[in-house]
């Protein structure tokens, strides 16, 4: 059954440190990959990942 498409809503200002254009590129790339390719990336990258952004700690458990 055909449904009407939603309009995606976004924030005026990007809150994160990643650029939207870069993330969109990476997402498109990954969505086009096969399951085997996905697994290969995850295994390879998990060995070499370094956090590039400091992690925000929970405040009062939230």
């Amino acid at each position: 059954m055909a449904t009407r498409k939603i309009t995606l809503k976004t924030a005026k200002k990007n809150q994160g440190s990643l650029s939207r254009a870069r993330v969109q590129r990476v997402v498109a790339e990954v969505y086009a990959m096969s399951r085997a390719e996905l697994q290969a990336i995850t295994t390879k990258k998990s060995e070499e990942i370094l956090l590039t952004v400091p992690v925000r700690k929970a405040v009062n458990g939230k």
Partner: protein, 208 residues
């Protein structure tokens, strides 16, 4: 472009929930569902301004959001033997705005989550008659309840059915580790702000 727009106050959903690792699968599912339904998820972690107190920031965010998701499922005692009051407190602010605010604020609409049906009556009996929804700590149930509520509350005909939403979220969840790895993060430590950017891009990818 027609497929993406800056959100107005009628498109924003304030998410009042825990932000710890235990709750992460739930929060990620809810954020994805909100985007996929055509709304913008907003949380207290969105901006970091040292000149603004946490409470003022929360009040400002609640004021600008027509919709609110308030999860009371995790109010049990913390390691210091104190119950967690933040979520009920913020729900109280939302109610205050809804019933004491101006014409715009009176349009507010909330979805209240609990873990098991009717347990709220034991700790917040003032909510009797409000009908909180039980998600049983199941992210897919949270997706279904969120989309059902947004469809009813907004009256929008474009919101997809929960089977579509769950299928798309499952696909996204499978691809997320690879996306995160390629962006140079670890899945266990991905900040919420970065997750939001990724979820937004994933929803857009499927719409194009």
């Amino acid at each position: 472009m027609d497929d993406i727009k800056i959100a107005g106050s009628y498109d924003t959903v304030f998410i009042n929930c825990p932000f710890d690792a235990l709750y992460q699968p739930m929060l990620r599912a809810i954020v994805f569902a909100v985007y996929r339904c055509g709304f913008l998820p907003v949380t207290a972690l969105d901006t970091d301004d040292g000149t603004e107190t946490r409470l003022l920031k929360i009040i400002r965010l609640i004021e600008r959001c027509r919709y609110g998701i308030h999860d009371l499922s995790r109010i049990e005692q913390s390691s210091g033997n104190f119950p967690r009051f933040n979520m009920p407190f913020e729900l109280g602010i939302f109610f205050g705005a809804r019933y004491l605010g101006d014409k715009i604020q009176r349009n507010k609409n909330a979805l209240i989550f609990e873990r098991v049906k009717f347990t709220y009556q034991q700790y917040i009996s003032d909510l009797n008659g409000i009908d909180p929804k039980a998600h049983n700590n199941d992210p897919f149930m949270a997706i279904q309840l969120t989309s059902d509520w947004l469809r009813t509350a907004s009256g929008r005909k474009t919101i997809p059915g929960h089977v579509v939403l769950k299928t798309e979220y499952q696909e996204f969840d499978e691809k997320l580790p690879a996306i995160i790895a390629k962006l140079g993060f670890a899945i266990s430590d991905l900040p919420l702000t970065e997750y939001r950017t990724i979820a937004e891009a994933a929803v857009r990818e499927k719409l194009v």
